[in-house]
Amino acid sequence: MNSLFEKGIAVFSWTAMMTMVLGVFILLGFLFFKGGKTLGLHLIFGSVSPVDALLLREQVLDGLFPAIVGTFLLVFCSMTFAIPIGVAAGIYMAEYARGWSRRAMSLFFDILAGIPSIVIGLAGLSLAIILHHHFSERFAPSLLISAIALAILVLPYIIRTTQIALESIDPVLRRTAPSLGASRLQNILRVLLPVSLPDILGGIFLAIGRCAEDTAVIMLTGAVVMAGIPRDMFSQYEALPFFIYYISSQYSSPEELQTGFGAAIILLFLCSFLLFAALWIQKRLVALLLYR
């Protein structure tokens, strides 16, 4: 009976795993079937020469290049805000917060994680309006406001993964550096953080993916269809997820819809590139911190 039950569980687990793998392949196959034909330099650079586009000598009006650059900048700026704050808050939660304050902050971060992205977008828009009225007219829906709003959206992922990564370190390893005379900060910076870096990076991967794909936040805080490459942080910008959303809801011909599928494939490539870049940075960082 037990053996039959165990076999049943094993078969169910295997089926669940295979369903997931199959789902991913079906999704990728569907995307390539629909948008594969559009892939090429023309999809990215339109009628502009790639060299002229890359050197910013000529603006791309009929390609995805501004949206790709905009998405890169958006992810970079959001992560620049979110990683230091999220990791620092995670360290505080795991290493310093105790008692009721820890429980209260845990509840706060759980609530923050559950806020729908459209609400964060609305808050970002309100922030832009307040700043515009009270500080400078330069503040408006822009790359800066989108990056701040997206950083707030992904902060709970980074905080939680940092906290859990630090808390799950073996207690003996946790006490090793202090037993050798390390201060709490030395223990955190030289042992605990490098050791938990792979797990923390897991949260950062999720955050990068979320920043690259979220549409609700950016459509309210600065993304537009035709903005070109942003000149500075106060400019509006183009982004791939917004382009995909716009094309799929407003397309006027099957060819235009195909462009949307092509953009989705490029977004997948971009996310994969960011993922591998983060993995490479993690490996280099761990090697640098622990083995050299």
Partner: protein, 240 residues
């Protein structure tokens, strides 16, 4: 007790609680300079916990509370280990500890060995290399690792890891060495080598050794305490 001996550690009315459970109860012991004190007793009786009270490592354990007096002579002066303004970094650099299970840091062998020096802001690379080599030679590990100092220390065998941890504790040339069953993962040859090393180290530091092995106690201990349910009792050494 030899009257010329000087007291190194004085423990009075020491009690240790983990949450509401009493682990150590009213411990009173003295340890003299340059002697090996063995602590024996059944598992869970509080032997290892006692070591944590001496270097205040119990502070790293949430829910631990300690009461009583612990004084240790450091740099020639008796220091109140329980004092709230005590420099814990200094205390733990002078009182080194080796845990029961090998606990190499997830770093290279060299980084493990130089870690105590680097956190003490020692910058002289030649000095660090000399100290590292000396400590590794003391535990008979130098020849085995000298050509792979940049390898991950966790890839060493269990016995090598334990000797590495002992060497790492020695690198700061501590005044007191707390050893929690340091030979439990070593082969008989390495056990005898470590015991020989401890007898040599006794000339320059005080050693408190938690051990299960009666024959080891007979071979190297100067004094023995038996622990039962958190209570320490002086026991006679039976030398064959």
């Amino acid at each position: 007790m030899n009257h010329e001996q000087v007291r190194k550690i004085r423990v009075r009315n020491l009690s240790f609680f983990y949450r509401s459970r009493e682990i150590l109860s009213d411990v009173n012991i003295d340890v003299m300079e340059r002697e090996i004190v063995a602590i024996a007793g059944p598992s869970g009786s509080g032997k290892s916990t006692f070591l944590l009270a001496l270097n205040r490592l119990w502070q790293e354990i949430e829910g631990a509370r300690v009461y009583g007096t612990v004084e240790i002579k450091i740099h020639g002066e008796m220091v109140d280990v329980m004092a709230s303004d005590l420099d814990l970094k200094m205390l733990r650099r002078r009182i080194a500890m080796v845990f029961q299970h090998p606990n190499p840091l997830p770093m290279s062998i060299f980084k493990n060995m130089s870690f105590p020096l680097s956190i003490a802001h020692v910058k002289d690379k030649k000095f660090i290399r000399e100290r590292v080599e000396r400590a590794l030679r003391q535990v008979n590990l130098w020849e085995e690792v000298k050509d792979r100092m940049d390898h991950d220390a966790r890839l060493l065998s269990g016995g090598q890891q334990q000797r590495l941890c002992l060497a790492r504790a020695l690198v700061m040339q501590p005044e007191v060495l707390l050893l929690d069953e340091p030979t439990s993962s070593l082969d008989p040859k390495s056990v005898l080598a470590v015991e020989k090393l401890l007898l040599e180290l006794k000339q320059e530091c005080t050693i408190i050794l938690v051990t299960h092995y009666q024959d080891q106690i007979q071979r190297i201990a100067d004094r023995l305490y038996r622990v039962t349910d958190g209570r320490f009792n002086r026991a006679e050494l039976v030398h064959s």
